[in-house]
């Protein structure tokens, strides 16, 4: 019985101290951000590996998510003779939910795991401590650029995802299913509000970008310096990011559209 209680207590204390370490870590990383003004090349290289290399998966999945939404939406809407609202359906679901959320989930799998593995391996092979030996702050040199690059890349990726999704729906709806393109765009423009829908989606993707890159770099930095530890950290990144994104999405949606 006491063993059981002790186990609960230990895991609670453990997760609390992890949370504390993660917050302190974030604080140090944010403190490293201003020095990046002098070395924009570091951020540039990270935007390349986080943002540009994620483009293909975002482009392909965005287009196909939009196309599938159009097919499914058409089959339901046509029963009510409301197939002209297909544009509204696709645009609102992509801008408000699917764009930011699916991008964040793909980001966790494509870029977050790579970040964790990279930083975890740097720690395992003692590159981080040798940097400290050379009086180079790994927070500024390694962590801060990656955090900033993730924060910058995510809204851009989400915007590309949503835009291509709508284009995919346009090709399926207007091109293949033979809808008229007047109401498709017209009704969409009439019901999509720039501030309420587009900007709220951007805010969501900013939050997700911040959380996803924070979790990714923290898990890498906090990984046990063994090959098993790095593999566990990578798994944790994907799982924790997905859970955090889905949970935060509910909270943000309740705040914005509730």
């Amino acid at each position: 019985m006491t063993d059981f209680l002790a186990r609960i207590g230990r895991s609670t204390l453990g997760s609390l101290s992890r949370l504390g370490r993660a917050s302190l870590f974030l604080w140090h990383a944010l403190a490293g951000l201003p020095s990046l003004v002098l070395r924009p090349g570091l951020v540039l290289a990270q935007i390349y590996s986080i943002g540009v290399l994620s483009l293909i998966i975002i482009v392909v999945s965005g287009t196909f998510v939009g196309a599938v939404l159009a097919l499914q939406g058409y089959n339901t809407l046509v029963n009510f003779g409301a197939q002209d609202s297909l544009g509204v359906l696709v645009a609102l679901s992509l801008l408000r939910e699917l764009g930011p959320v699916v991008t964040a989930l793909l980001f966790a799998g494509r870029a977050g795991s790579a970040l964790t593995a990279e930083i975890g391996l740097m720690k395992t092979t003692e590159q981080l401590s040798s940097m400290e030996m050379m009086a180079v702050d790994p927070m500024r040199r390694v962590i801060a650029p990656r955090l900033l690059a993730g924060f910058i890349s995510m809204p851009l990726l989400a915007a590309i995802f949503s835009f291509l999704g709508i284009m995919g729906a346009y090709f399926v709806g207007v091109g293949a299913l033979g809808l008229d393109d007047g109401p498709f765009w017209g009704q969409m423009q009439a019901s999509v509000d720039f501030r309420d829908d587009v900007m709220n989606g951007v805010i969501k993707s900013l939050v997700f970008g911040f959380v996803a890159s924070w979790i990714a770099v923290y898990e890498g930095y906090d990984a046990e310096p063994t090959s098993e530890g790095v593999s566990r950290a990578t798994t944790r990144t994907v799982v924790h990011t997905s859970l955090a994104v889905l949970g935060l999405d509910f909270v943000l949606t309740a705040l914005m559209f509730g």
Binding site: G51, A91, L156, I160, Q189, F194
Partner: protein, 157 residues
């Protein structure tokens, strides 16, 4: 150096594509209200019942859009709904005795205000009020009236 340059080009492309997508969303999908504050004059309409009319609903004349609903308030004394609409500056020769009605586009579509022009030589201006209005058709009320009239008909037989 060559490597670094191609990275820069790719990042530039990525950022440009991201902003282009954002701009596309803003212009093509949502037609931003920021650039769309209608330049025009405000006119008030009093209705007994506005049904499901909402803000930003279109105001039309002969089917063409001439303005948008700006705000909807309830007159606490007369219990009329006071609808303020902004009419485009280009349409500044709408007769003062025009009448307004609320219609529904399609069977279950969105509601809009239609203005039927009158014949006076005085034109509507900022702050004017159109009192000659016809309320929205509320489907339940219509069915209720139809049912009672059917009941009356049966009694007569």
């Amino acid at each position: 150096m060559n490597m670094g340059r191609s990275v820069e080009i790719w990042v530039g492309l990525f950022v440009a594509a991201g902003f282009a997508a954002f701009l596309g969303l803003a212009m093509q999908v949502s037609n931003i209200p920021l650039f769309q504050t209608l330049d025009g004059y405000d006119v008030q309409l009093r209705f007994n019942n506005i049904g499901g009319l909402r803000e930003r609903a279109p105001v039309t004349m002969s089917g063409g859009r001439v303005g948008r609903v700006k705000s909807i308030e309830l007159d606490a004394r007369s219990f009329d709904a006071v609808v303020t609409v902004t009419i485009d500056r280009n349409y500044n020769e709408i007769p003062e005795d025009s009448s307004a009605s609320i219609y529904t586009s399609g069977l279950l579509g969105e509601q809009y205000i239609a203005i039927d022009p009158g014949g006076l030589d005085f034109f509507l201006e900022e702050g004017d009020e159109i009192t000659l209005t016809q309320s929205a058709l509320v489907l339940e009320r219509l069915i209720g009236r139809f049912l009672t009239s059917m009941g009356d008909g049966n009694d007569d037989d």
